[in-house]
Amino acid sequence: METEALVLKLDGFEGPLDLLLELARAQKVDLARISILALVEQFLAVIEGARRVRLELAADWLVMAAWLTWLKSRLLVPQLGESEEAETAADILAARLIDLQTIREAARWLGQRPQLGWDVFARGAPEDFVETDRSKLRADLSGLLSAYLAARRRAGGRQQYRPKPMLFFSVQNALERIGRMLGAVPDWASLEQFLPESLEDGLPRRAAIAATLIAGLEMAKDGRLNLRQDEKFGPILMRGRPEELDQGDE
């Protein structure tokens, strides 16, 4: 009856060795003194039972069964002249069962330890006192020099391909021109009047307007002229400061 029950539970075993250990423990004696012969017979009975109910058996079960059948025959009939070999095999089997049982006990011992994260807990919000100091720089002189060379070479390389720069009316030009013209224009005059003659339309003209405005702002900051714009986008008007005009009059 016990065997029948085991057959149905064969899937529950971790393999033939697991079943053998279970059967050995059922003998309720010290594992070192179990009857291997009785164990073998029980195992084979379970396999027979499994075959009777046409259970599909995995290869390792059949291999173990075949080996145990061989072992049983030698243990039963020592006259075959291979009794020593059979006894060694029986000892090895017993030793393997002891090893497995030892591991089972070790696993159980570990399982009974208070486990971290289940039975005991470590600090949930650890504090980190490590500070990273990133204030220092990793930079040396050779790096500085090679960076300088790289910058100069790149700029040098680019200059080769730089198109001839267009000559625009510069802020410097505008400063001179306004300075010259202010005395000659007594009242508010629009910015356009300070532009040089014969400007090409488009970029040259726009550049000249921008340069004149910047120059005008610069001179206004220095107190040499006044600027005025009566409405948004309306004409910008310029006039020399009175003292400037006076001087111009002198």
Binding site: E14, G15, P16, L17, D18, L20, R25, K28, L31, R96, I98, D99, L100, Q101, T102, I103, R104, E105, A106, A107, R108, W109, L110, G111, Q112, R113, P114, Q115, L116, G117, W118, D119, V120, F121, A122, R123, G124, P126, E127, D128, F129
Partner: protein, 186 residues
Amino acid sequence: MSEDMTEALRRVEAAVFAASQPVPARTLDALLPEGMVLDEVMAALGAAYAPRGVNLARVAEGWQFRTAPDVAPYLRKVVEQPRRLPRVAMETIAIIAYHQPVTRTEIEEIRGATLSQNTLDLLLETGLITPRGRKETPGRPTLWGTTPAFLAQFGLSDLRALPKREDLLIDPAVPAAPETPPEPPT
């Protein structure tokens, strides 16, 4: 208690308390006032915490504060917990602990069953085992060993704290009284 001892206790207490991992002796030693002996300080600290809800434990070659096992049922409501390891994983980690470094084939021979990918993945994922080089045999199979996380997980100071194999089998019929309160049904 001497003033030095009070100060020493405050420093090592703070250092062990602040860390989530076991703190090694040399780290703590560096914190002590001149002339103090670490073992004495740690013994005093352990004694001070013994009756409390948080205890000092010697684990994984260092010290760590851990909650007392008997308050665990209350904390399980507060703290998120990982799942328990299944029996196969427990047996496999036991084999690795006792036989390390050990190959997968050797593990399978001892258990008399194949080692599933799931179990290996689980043990690696939990950080309890790690490769320890390769065995110089045909195929050069990977050797496995346990990690400091294994020691921390099971509250072991080092591998020598594992029971001797002979002692495990003394009377397997009568299991030792569990150190922990019975688990609530899951």
